[in-house]
């Protein structure tokens, strides 16, 4: 009996010890007297190797821990590692003069560090997901190096000496300076560090060196800790001592932590916006994402090659009603392609420069016109009854996308009398197979801008670009080429790009739906947190905490 009692006592002690054991794998972190910003993200960073960064989340982090030739803070472009620069007359050769700046380990940042970084970005053997970026901003030979036809040394970037860097473009791109300050894949890298760690480079915070305002000190346990980089060239103007980014998957959980004062910033789920939108700490930013439907004119279904049919779909939609039903009215219904927040002419935005509504599809639709287009299409296609037309709409299996598909289905069926089938596939399927192999008729997708210029959207529809849609139109290509040839008159270039967008609209090249925005809560004690629509959403590098 005694033995049994002892055994019982031991089991009880073990249970209590397990349950009450205070040490968890993480461990607490606290701060006193420091300026700290704590926020949450619901997209886990995929990498801290800036060459391989491939999402807004990755880019936002790199924007804080690395420094480009320029720095773009919410559209305001200021000198970064480059103190000054000269631009050749044809707009194709940029010569950057670098300042004396150091890496976080005290080594000087050299022009060669940029050359190495750029060559690595397009090196097919490295296979960076964002290798295409250099080509989109016009860097000479970027596409050739990435396809393996040219050697990395032939890329349009050259170190004249330690402090002078020359970048050559194959076409003038006025947006280059803005892109250099915002797309962190273009920031410098230290060859010795990358080679020292090999495949494990940047796998953890200590296997890297940093050129930006902050250094990463921990990436463990879904908590990313940034501390002020004393070696940063502009360290005197960096106010925050520390930033903590928590990866929290569930928006509700993050919101709970914000409300209990453990976070200073959270993004809000659309479902709860209604409860918060009158609060002082509520805010909203446009994230540059434009959602729309791609059309595959080469589909087996002959209706898609018919312009009048595509226009019928576009005119049949009441985008205001659609936005109410599909997005609870939270986004902005949109009837064109280029995000209205782009920089337009004379300091105005693209949306202010051009009156989109004068040439785009009517926001509330025009069913009569749609039916007229449909009648024309049917005549051309030799179809007697609208009900004989059957189209297939593809989207992912996400609940929100299903709702979008159903609203569109209903509007098209009601307005045109055609039959719309919905095909739902997985996320991996739609981006891995369906779009790349054009295995669709019409599908829901969208585009987030890569730089602040209409071509980031327009280029997708070029005949020689086959990312999502095989669409092609020689008139459209010619307009883009003409715009590209203009070096000295940015306004004339912008007009040509706008005319190109109008060609897409007249041709029913796609079906625009909405411009997205994001609601958030930001603690009122935070100052100078910037929101931006291009590759970066939240920028806290120069933020401050009110005393």
């Amino acid at each position: 009996m005694k033995k049994r009692l002892l055994a019982l006592a031991m089991v009880a002690a073990l249970i209590i010890a397990t349950l009450a054991s205070c040490s968890t794998p993480g461990g607490d972190s606290s701060s006193g007297g420091e300026k700290v910003f704590r926020y949450a993200t619901n997209t886990e960073p995929t990498t801290f190797d800036l060459t391989k960064g491939n999402s807004i989340g990755d880019n936002e982090i790199q924007h804080a821990i690395s420094e480009g030739l320029t720095r773009n803070t919410g559209g305001n472009v200021t000198p970064g590692i480059a103190e000054s620069w000269d631009i050749s007359e044809d707009g194709c050769v940029y010569t950057f003069h670098l300042r004396d700046a150091n890496w976080s380990d005290g080594q000087p940042i050299k022009a060669q560090d940029f050359v190495y970084s750029w060559q690595r970005l397009v090196d097919p053997a490295v296979s960076s997901p964002y290798a295409w970026y250099l080509d989109t901003i016009g860097v000479k030979n970027a596409a050739g190096v990435n396809s393996g036809e040219l050697k990395p040394e032939e890329l349009g970037i050259k170190a004249i000496d330690d402090k002078t860097l020359e970048i050559t473009l194959d076409r003038p791109m006025a947006v280059l300076l803005s892109a250099l300050g915002m797309q962190s894949n273009l920031n410098p890298l230290r060859q010795d560090i990358v080679e020292q760690y090999g495949d494990e480079f940047a796998a953890t915070a200590d296997k890297n060196v940093y050129s930006g305002p902050f250094v990463l000190t921990s990436t463990e346990n879904n908590l990313y800790v940034f501390e002020k980089n004393p070696e940063f060239w502009d360290a005197d103007n960096i106010k925050l001592d520390r930033v903590e980014l928590n990866y929290i998957e569930k928006a509700d959980t993050a919101l709970g932590l914000y409300e209990s004062g453990e976070l200073d910033y959270v993004r809000l789920d659309n479902a709860v916006v209604e409860n918060y939108k009158d609060n002082d700490d509520y805010g909203i930013y446009l994230n540059g994402n434009v959602d729309y439907c791609y059309i595959n004119p080469n589909s087996d279904n002959p209706v898609w090659a018919n312009k009048n049919f595509r226009l019928a779909l576009n005119y049949a939609l009441n985008r205001v009603e659609y936005n109410q039903l599909a997005n609870s009215g939270l986004y902005n219904p949109y009837n064109a392609l280029c995000f209205p927040g782009l920089t337009g002419k004379g300091g105005k935005t693209y949306g202010e420069t051009y009156d989109v509504n004068s040439y785009a599809y009517p926001m509330e639709g025009d069913v009569e016109k749609a039916q007229a287009y449909l009648a024309d299409a049917m005549k051309e296609l030799g179809i007697a009854n609208a009900s004989d037309i059957e189209i297939e709409f593809v989207t992912t299996d996400a609940e929100s996308n299903k709702k979008i598909a159903e609203v569109l289905q209903e509007q098209w069926q009601n307005a045109l009398g055609i039959k719309v089938n919905i095909r739902q596939v997985t996320y991996a399927d739609i981006y891995g197979e369906v779009y790349p192999k054009f295995d669709y008729e019409i599908g829901y997708a969208g585009w987030g801008p890569d730089y602040d210029d209409p071509t980031t959207y327009l280029n997708l529809f070029r005949s020689d670009v086959n990312w999502y849609t095989p669409y092609g139109n020689p008139d459209f290509d010619a307009k883009l080429d003409a715009a590209q040839a203009i070096t000295d008159d940015p306004d004339a270039r912008m007009d040509l790009l706008n005319e190109a967008e109008q060609i897409l609209i007249e041709d029913g090249a796609w079906v625009p739906l909405q411009a997205r925005n994001q609601s958030y809560l930001l603690s009122p004690k935070m100052k100078d947190v910037t929101f931006y629509s291009f590759s970066i959403n939240i920028d806290w590098a120069y933020a401050d905490v009110a005393e």
Partner: protein, 306 residues
Amino acid sequence: MTKYVIKRVIAAILTLWALITIVFFLVRLMPGEPFTNPKLSPQVIENMTKYYGFDKPLIVQYFQYLGNLLHGNFGFSMKYTNKTVNYIIGQTFPFSADLGLRALTLAISFGLVLGILAARKRGTKIDFVCVLIAIIGTSIPDFIMGALLQYFFGIKWGLLPIALYKGFKYTILPATALAFYTLASVSRIMRASMLEVTSQDYIKTARSKGLSELRITVKHQIRNAIMPVMTILGPTVAAVLTGTFVIEAIFAIPGMGKYYVESVNNNDYSMILGMTLFYGIFLVTANLIVDILYGVADPRVRIGKK
């Protein structure tokens, strides 16, 4: 007994090999490709296909993978490009295991006690309460339980932290939420099995021998009634320790569960294989231990009995 154990171990290894082989080929049949970032140009996809060796024949890739496995190397994740699957498991498993261990201890100890109590006091209010807890536990899904606990203990009463995992008080809510279902099933099975045992002849014999009630319950009833509970413990331990997607997500715990689910959504082949194999090893080991314990508890089970 040794022969029995050796046989079990060999069967376990064969099971794992079959698992790897089946999963290796099945993931390739899933619709889509592992490169699911919407912003990959066709050239980039071509480069990545080469980089990961997907342009080689499948059978070559299979033997390469097996070769790496022999060195304990699960390869690099395709989504978290600089991290090996080993590293991700090493980072996240301690959290899942810590949470799981707490939940298991809670579930098994309370589950058994409730089950025994209910059976001993059958038909009384105590029995009713125990059965009620069991029904609630099995019918309320853990994500609702988690959210309810969060709301009342975290937000409404402010007693415990809502989420994250930074110390003892952070563990209470998630462990309770996670434990509830297992606790309920353990108590239900224990109660039923206790009642079944009560009517057995050997209990009547023990009682007629004049043994005390306590002695009958502890020595004869529980020992025999616990067998069905042990049967479910194998898979339960493996499932609970290797991370539960929902509870970890609700409480923002940096555990393994999320990576498992996410890898399937992203077609992250190396991660799916690594996670499945890791889970498989756990499940097979847990079952192996249960098998052996079975042999200990019930001599008839031993296959090599003399």
